[in-house]
Amino acid sequence: MFTRPLLLSSKLELTRCFKFPQNGMSQYPSYYIKPIYSNDKQTDLIKSGEAQKLAHVPTRAALNDQTSSIYHDDLICLLVNYLMKDGNKLLARDLVEKTMEKIKRVQLEKYHKLANEEEKEKVVLNPRAIIHQAITNVKPILQLTPIKRGGVTYQVPVPITDRRSQFLSMKWLIEAGNEKERTVRFYDQFAYELIDAANNTGRAVKKKQDLHKQCEMNRAYAHYRWS
């Protein structure tokens, strides 16, 4: 007779103590570390002697886009993921690869048309470098958030984190690539937009500057920021 309520109370204690695990829905327990797949990082770890420590720590399996290939690029992987629709990664990757091919063709054409050797050296032929430059050029430094004060919604300029600004930059570049005639291929338009953005011109850069101008116009509301 006495054991039952005791048991029940201990069960209650258990339910009160239970916390949802930090790793959410992951199939791995929280002590599993993420894989270090980059070649440079691995050599660094071996040099510093950290690799010995990590050798027997349980590690997650690498995702299918995480490779130690020299062609791997974190930012471009992210771009592929942002471009992807309905989980169709094959198509998204194909589009990005074709974009890079187009950039290369356009830049090579520019290169061969130039007669001057000095000017030729200035043309960037690496499509990856152009994509990186385009993304850094389109990154905004502020954004607007709607904040309600006294029944009126104000657009208040607030600082943004680096990751958010990177996301907005890629989003605007992709949107600029999608604004085209029906007959034009996405990868062609996207390549032109990326080259324009790398030269600090084009629609995506215009969008960033518009945002900055609007932030400047609403600078008086900046102290409304709260919570």
């Binding site: 600082p159 932030c215 900046a222 919570s227």
Partner: protein, 117 residues
């Protein structure tokens, strides 16, 4: 310990008013967490510098590298500091000699040194 209903229950007194101890004459052993919400307005001065520079240079960012950098550093520092204080509060670590205590720490201190009965 509802104050208003207790006062209503008292009715309309006549002179001289006899003293009645309706509520116990001591302070509550806890504070509410309401007043602890600090505003997250940060880096306003840096932002104004960025705006001034951008307006001068017709929204060319290359001319305002210094201002933008200081603004972004300010924001990242602010976020880092916020994260650290939040973690400390969650752990409930008491820092000796701190002037503005968060409500959790205040409650902890009040529990450590309760009212005399």
């Amino acid at each position: 310990m509802r104050i208003l209903p207790a006062l209503w229950a008292r009715g309309n007194p006549k002179e001289p008013v006899p003293f009645q101890e309706i509520l116990p004459l001591k302070l509550r052993p806890f504070v509410s967490g309401k007043g602890d919400k600090t505003s997250n307005v940060c880096c306003l001065y840096e932002m104004s510098l960025v705006f001034g520079c951008l307006k001068e240079n017709e929204f060319k960012e290359s001319a305002c590298g210094r201002e933008i950098k200081s603004f972004q550093e300010c924001f990242t520092n602010y976020n880092k500091q916020k994260y650290i204080t939040k973690e400390r509060e969650a752990k409930g670590i008491l820092t000796p000699g701190e002037k503005r205590l968060p409500y959790r720490q205040l409650n902890k201190l009040l529990r450590m040194y309760p009212n005399e009965k």
